[in-house]
Symmetry: C2
Subunit: 421 residues, 2 copies
C-alpha cells in the first residue's frame, strides 16, 4: 500500500483532546487506503520543562544525559498516539528511536540522521499493521546512546522517514494552514500559496518564516520528498495547505512567490579599514568564532588614505549585518582583533534600527528587471535602501525598521502577490 508520512508538532499534540483530533486525521488517511507513518513531537511545553530541569541541574551539562532526559517527551506522545489509534480500531504501535533503529551521528543535541532500518516497520506493515507511530527528534548513536536532532528535529525525522520509505508525501501538521505570500500579520492581502518550490521554501525558511526548519527542507529537496504544510486545527482534505515540491511540479508563472522579512537586524560598518589581501578573512574569521551569524556583506571600493608617517595606503569601508542580539559579541571580537593587530580600522559604526525585507521567487532566474521593479516600488514609498544582497532567486535589502511594514506591503502589491495564481 502507498505510504504516507504525517507529522504532528507540539501544539498539535498538546493534550489528550488534541492527540485525539490528530488521530482522527490519521484514521482518515488510513480509510483513504494509505499505510501511515506518524511522527510526533512532545506535548507542547514538555520539552521546555525537561530542558529547564537539565539546565538547572547542570549548566554545562553532559549532552548525552541531556538527550536521554529530553527525548522522553516524544516517547510519551508516541505511546499515547498509538493507544488513541487502537481505541479507534486502527491497528497501530509505537516505536522509539532506538527500536527502529534510527541511526544518527554521535553529535548529541544536534545529531544527523545517517540511516533508518526499514526491516521492523516493513514486517509490521506486512502483518496488516496500518500505522507506525514514531517518536520524533531522536535517534541512536553508534555507541548505543540516545541522541536528539536539535530544535525542529521532528520535521527532519518526518522527511527522513518519507525518503527511506518512498512515501508519496510528507504532511507536516502545524498551527498554521500553509505558506503565505507574506506574513498575514503585516499584510491583510497575504495569500496562501498552493505550491512552492523547495528552493523558495529554503530561502523563506532561512529568512524567518518559522513554519519549517531549514534542515528538513534541505533534506526534502535532496531526496525529492513532497512536503505538505497544513493545519491540525482545521478540517483538511487532499487539497489543503501548501505543497512544497520540485519546481517541475509548479506551473504558475509568477516571478516572485513571496515577500519575507526579518525585523531585528543590525548594520555594522568598519570605517577606514585597511584594504589588503586577506582582510575579509581577518574580519569574518573572528566573528564566526564568536558565534556571530553574519548575513549580508558589502565592501566599498578602495581609496587612498594618508597613513601616520607610513605613506599612503589602500583603505575601504566594510559593512555587514547580523541579528541585533549579537552586536555586543561582534564588537568585542572586532576590538580584540584590532588589539592583536590583526586588523586596523578607525571606527565601528552600529545601526541597530534596521530590518531586512526580501523578495523570493524561482521565476527571477528567467526574468530580468526584478531588482529594478523592487527598488522602484520602495522609492515610490520614500524608503531608503541601506544595503542590497542578492542570490539567484532572492533579493534582500536592509532598510530603516520604521519602514518595514510599509515596504512589505508595497512589494506585495508591486509583484501582484494578492492576485490568485
Amino acid at each position: 500500500m502507498p505510504i504516507l508520512v504525517m507529522k504532528f508538532g507540539g501544539t498539535s499534540v498538546a493534550d489528550l483532546t488534541r492527540i485525539r483530533a490528530a488521530a482522527e486525521k490519521v484514521r482518515a488517511e488510513v480509510a483513504r487506503g494509505h499505510d501511515v507513518i506518524v511522527i510526533v513531537s512532545a506535548m507542547a511545553g514538555r520539552t521546555n520543562e525537561l530542558v529547564g530541569w537539565v539546565n538547572e541541574t547542570s549548566p554545562l551539562y553532559d549532552a548525552r544525559e541531556y538527550d536521554a532526559v529530553v527525548s522522553s517527551g516524544e516517547n510519551v506522545t508516541a505511546g499515547l498516539m498509538a493507544l488513541t489509534l487502537q481505541e479507534m480500531d486502527v491497528p497501530a504501535r509505537s516505536w522509539q528511536g532506538w527500536q527502529v533503529p534510527i541511526h544518527t551521528t554521535s553529535a548529541h543535541g544536534a545529531a544527523r540522521i545517517e540511516g533508518i532500518d526499514r526491516a521492523a516497520l516493513d514486517a509490521k506493515f506486512a502483518e496488516g499493521f496500518r500505522v507506525a507511530v514514531i517518536a520524533g527528534f531522536q535517534g541512536l548513536s553508534p555507541e548505543g546512546r540516545i541522541t536528539t536532532l536539535g530544535r525542529g528535529g521532528s520535521d527532519t525525522t518526518a522527511v527522513a522517514f518519507a525518503a527511506a520509505f518512498d512515501a508519496i508525501r510528507c504532511d507536516i501538521y502545524t498551527d498554521v494552514d500553509g505558506i503565505y505570500t507574506t506574513d498575514p500579520r503585516i499584510s491583510a492581502k497575504a495569500r496562501k500559496l498552493a505550491r512552492i518550490s523547495f528552493e523558495e521554501m529554503l530561502e523563506l525558511a532561512s529568512l524567518g518564516a518559522k513554519v519549517l526548519q531549514t534542515r528538513s527542507v534541505e533534506l526534502a529537496m535532496r531526496y525529492k520528498v513532497r512536503l505538505r504544510v497544513l493545519s491540525s486545527f482545521e478540517e483538511t482534505d487532499e487539497t489543503s495547505g501548501t505543497l512544497v515540491c520540485d519546481e517541475d511540479e509548479i506551473m504558475e508563472s509568477k516571478v516572485v512567490s513571496g515577500v519575507a522579512h526579518s525585523r531585528d537586524e543590525a548594520k555594522l560598518t568598519l570605517v577606514t579599514v585597511e584594504d589588503r589581501p586577506g582582510i575579509a578573512a581577518a574580519i569574518f574569521g573572528p566573528l564566526a568564532e564568536a558565534g556571530v551569524n553574519v548575513d549580508m556583506i558589502v565592501q566599498n571600493i578602495s581609496e587612498q588614505a594618508q597613513g601616520d608617517g607610513e605613506g599612503p595606503r589602500e583603505v575601504t569601508d566594510m559593512t555587514f549585518s547580523c541579528p541585533t542580539d549579537q552586536v555586543a559579541r561582534a564588537r568585542k571580537a572586532l576590538e580584540a582583533a584590532q588589539e592583536r593587530g590583526d586588523i586596523r580600522f578607525d571606527s565601528l559604526e552600529v545601526d541597530t534600527e534596521v530590518s531586512k525585507v526580501s523578495v523570493v521567487g524561482i521565476g527571477m532566474r528567467s526574468h530580468a528587471g526584478v531588482a529594478a521593479r523592487m527598488f522602484a516600488a520602495l522609492a515610490a514609498e520614500g524608503v531608503n535602501i541601506k544595503v542590497i544582497a542578492t542570490s539567484e532567486i532572492k533579493i534582500s535589502v536592509l532598510i530603516d525598521r520604521k519602514y518595514m511594514e510599509l515596504a512589505v506591503q508595497a512589494l506585495h502589491d508591486a509583484f501582484g502577490l494578492d492576485k490568485a495564481d
Copy 2:
C-alpha cells in the same frame, strides 16, 4: 572495588533539590570506596500522571504501549541523577533498561526480570566510572519492547542488580528510617529494629507494612542479598536504618520481632454449608476467579443436619476473611455458585467491622508457648478472638476493629518489644 546498590524511591527524587540530596548520599558512598549502582524511581507524582493519561486515552489499554509511556518517568530521573553526580565531580552515567539490557518476560505491566547483562556496566567500572545510574521499574522483553515490573518494581530492580553484581548490600532509601516493631502511629513504644530476617520481613510486608514490596524481599532472600531500609531525608551512616538479612546474621534472642496489623478486614461465614469432598474447591475457586484475596480460612467440625426429605446430611460452617472492599464481589461470586447448584448453604453472615493483628518472629520456631502468651495478653484486655491462623513464624487473629490499637499495644508490651535488643 566493592559494589554497593542504592535505590531511591519517588519521594526521595521528587524534585531537583531532593535529587541533589540523594546524590550527596551517593557521593558519600563513593568517598567510602564503593563503586555504586543507583536505581531511581520516577519523580513522585509523575508515574500517576502518565498512568492517568493512559487510562483516559484507552481504558482497556495495550499493555505494551502503557509500558512505553509509563517507563519514561524513570528515564528522566536517571538522566538528572547522572547530571547531578557529574556536577559533584563524581563520574557517572545513566542507563535505561534496554541499554543494560535488563531482560524480562513479556508480561507487560507485571514483567519478571530474567537476567541482567553485566558486560556494559563492568566495562564502564573498569574505565574508572564510579556510578551507574539505572532507570528502575523497567526492562526489555524478548520481542524488543519496553516492559515494566509493576508497582514497587524499582525495589525489585535494585535487588536484581545487587544479586547480579554480588553487591555487598542493597540500600533502599525511602521516607521512613527503618522497620519498626510495630506501627509508631499506633504505639508510641514502637522501636526501630537494627536487624530483621528475610522471613520475618516477608510476613510483615504481606501483612501491610508497606516499606518493601513482597517480591523484592523474596528475591533478596533467594539470592541472599542484604537489604537495608533507611531514610533519604536524614543524615545516615553505616549503622542507620534496618538491615534485612539472613537469620544467621541475627544474634538477638527475641521470640517475636514485631506486631503487624491490617485494619480493614471482613469476616464472612457460610452457614450450614454441605460438607463433602471438594466443597472447599467449590467455594474458593469462584472467589479466586472473582479476584477476592481470601486470607484466613477456618472450617468448623462437621455435624448432621436434617435435609428437606433427603435424609440426614453432613454440614459445616465455613469462615474466611478478605479486605472489606472485596465483600460485594465475594457475595456475588458465592450466590452465583449457589444458583448454579455448585454449593449449598443456608445463609452468608458478613462482619465488616474486624481487623487482623499478627505477631511475627523466627524465634517461634524454637519457642513453645507464643500462642498461649498472645491469647492471654488479649484476654487480659477483654479482647475476644474471632478467628486464628498460624504459620511457622506468625500468629494472626481477627478481632473487633474497635480493639485493634489496644491489642497491638498489649501485644507489643507482652513480648517486650519496647526493650532494646
